[in-house]
Amino acid sequence: MSFLEILAIIIPAALYTAAPLVFTALGGVFSERSGVVNIGLEGLMLFGAFTGVLTTLMIQDTVGAASPWIAILAAALASGLFSLLHAVASITLRADQTVSGVAINFLAAGLSLFLIKKIFDKGQTDFVQFRINKSDVPFLSDIPVIGDIFFSRIPYTSYLAILIAILVWYIIYKTPFGLRMRAVGEHPMAADTMGINVTRMRYIGVMISGVFAGIGGAVYALSISGNFTGGTISGQGFLALAAMIFGKWHPLGAMGAALFFGFAQSLSITGAQIPLLKEIPSVFLIIAPYVLTILALTGFVGRAEAPKALGTPYEKGKR
């Protein structure tokens, strides 16, 4: 098997698995840049997957192939609203942000399965008729070598994820809104003095993270799993959180890390087809993202510094 053939297996698989992680990690960037820890990404993703599958099932008979795309929007909206709970608890009510995130995860898991059982009378949904399929990009996939590696057998959501990551980078680093958001996460009191509404910025940050995690969850459910069960989202949200940290709270870094984690995850599946990798026990590939994140935090792989005010509620007038 030639090197290029191997690449043509690995890269599409990596892009395919990474897309949900990229979206969710970008969401994490917004929340944490504004100073609110979001352990709840897992739950928000789960709620997005649930809403995505449910919406597709409800509208697929009338809307047809467009239904998964509409469902992704519905999931974005639903998780955005769901994240409001985390915002209210951790910003207005000054709850411990980690604890509130844990509660979000419990609540999303409980509520979505509760509703599934209520609606379908069983523990899982049916499979959706229309998925976001792997497809070849017209024209580009005909380019020799590159076309086969980067533009074939990849769902459109993967390209969308990368484009949005660039957009998020622009918003956070090149617009006044982004500057304000970062200021609120670094030094809320200074930001407040300059007339920025800290509470409002943080609410926006958390809710955008909900929107993105919702999209991530829906993309996972509609492109990879195809239905929703209690085990559909099991750890992808935490993996996205890890990607965000490994990417040093930077949108492009988060995207790169998410792509890398997607690559590592897909290797544990595609690895069997590839000589050399077959020899490595798959458990090493599976735990690699988590170990790497710890090393990154420790400083062995370039030190990751969190926003300064991350995790502390802002109380006006308190020194």
């Binding site: 411990d96 898991a109 935490f238 959180l241 988590y290």
Partner: protein, 352 residues
């Protein structure tokens, strides 16, 4: 009411009670919205928790690992650390206890303590990693422990498959000499799986209370939890205290794993998802206000709720996930104690 708000200690005891009640109330509202009968639901829940000797036995059985998981979270909380990695520490403890229980040949008097000790050591080691990284490199323990949960999940599964595999996604059973199972307790509760683990859990709760309240180590841990800088200027070794608290916390969590390995299951399953006990431990510690006695009560409540969930499903047709929703709501309400304080203040002003 004024007096209540001024008395911190009393307020801190009353918040969990209010939160638990609020959680149940919202749970009832959800049942109503879902067209279920809340009265039937809650009476089925109560029956499933305490309705028969068997139900009581199962409630206590489920509470044993939860007590230990709650102690683990609570102990770290006391030192100002958030150990979200109880789940992972529990898994490595579980594996260690099963390994010692299966591979060693010892008389019961030694076998059980050695197997539990192995679980505590394994969990303690798994807690030492984030403790060390926090103390040495100032890495936030929340992220490290989350990552280590996954490392533990996949590594224990791979180790079982490679070294302890008995087929059917399960490890070998532990020897009878290492088993905490008790025909006596089982017959006492008419056939529940109640085992001696509850005794271990209560001893652990007493140990936690003793360390925190009666030793200088506990005093230092609490001081570090309240103010690291002040503790440092007072001459306390802050890094050492951080590591100690994570090790002891991990040891409690590992012992919780031994409850499953030596008690309830007698073996370990090749898991592909978390047991949830470690995360429930967070809820238990919060509801128990990080107090050893409070943790026991909270664990009995949550253990009972989760064992009674199928009963509620069976009798009143309410999906058992309602319990997860109630637990989540209780966490929200405890965490948002600011809200409860706000409401109480409002009430007391109106009453004047």
């Amino acid at each position: 009411m004024q007096k209540l708000l001024k008395n911190e200690k009393l307020f801190n005891t009353i918040v969990p009670v209010i939160a638990a009640v609020l959680g149940m109330v919202v749970g009832a509202i959800i049942m109503l919205l879902g067209n279920y009968d809340p009265v039937a639901g809650f009476s089925a829940l109560f029956n499933g928790m305490f309705g028969s000797p068997k139900a009581v036995g199962e409630t206590i059985r489920a509470a044993s690992p939860l007590i230990l998981a709650g102690l683990a979270v609570g102990f770290a909380f006391k030192a100002g650390l958030f150990n979200i990695g109880v789940e992972g520490q529990l898994l490595v403890g579980w594996l260690a206890s099963v390994w010692v229980g299966y591979a060693f040949d010892l008389p019961t008097v030694l076998h059980i303590p050695v197997a539990i000790l192995a679980a505590a050591l394994a969990g303690g080691f798994w807690g030492l990693i984030p403790g060390f990284l926090k103390a040495r490199f100032k890495v936030h323990e929340v992220i490290v422990t989350i990552m280590l949960n996954y490392v533990a999940l996949y590594t224990t599964a791979a180790l079982i498959k490679k070294y302890l595999y008995a087929g059917n996604e399960k490890s070998y059973k532990v020897d009878g000499t290492a088993s905490l199972a008790s025909p006596f307790l089982s017959s006492l509760t008419e056939g529940s799986r109640l085992h001696w683990g509850i005794v271990v859990a209560i001893i652990a709760a007493i140990i936690m209370w003793f360390i925190i309240e009666k030793t200088s180590l506990g005093y230092e841990l609490r001081a570090v939890g309240i103010n690291q800088h002040a503790s440092m200027y007072a001459g306390m070794n802050v890094p050492r205290n951080i590591m100690m608290s994570m090790v002891i916390s991990g040891a409690f969590a590992g012992t919780a794993g031994a409850m499953e390995g030596l008690g309830t299951f007698q073996n370990m399953t090749v898991l592909s998802a978390f047991t949830g006990t470690g995360f429930d431990g967070i809820a238990v510690a919060l509801l128990g206000a990080n107090n050893a006695f409070g943790i026991i009560i909270a664990a009995v409540l949550f253990g009972g709720l989760s064992t009674a969930a199928p009963q509620m499903n069976f009798d009143a047709n309410v999906p058992s996930e309602l319990i997860d929703i109630i637990i989540a709501l209780i966490i929200f309400f405890v965490a948002s104690s600011y809200l409860i304080r706000l409401i109480l203040t409002r009430f007391s002003k109106e009453g004047k």
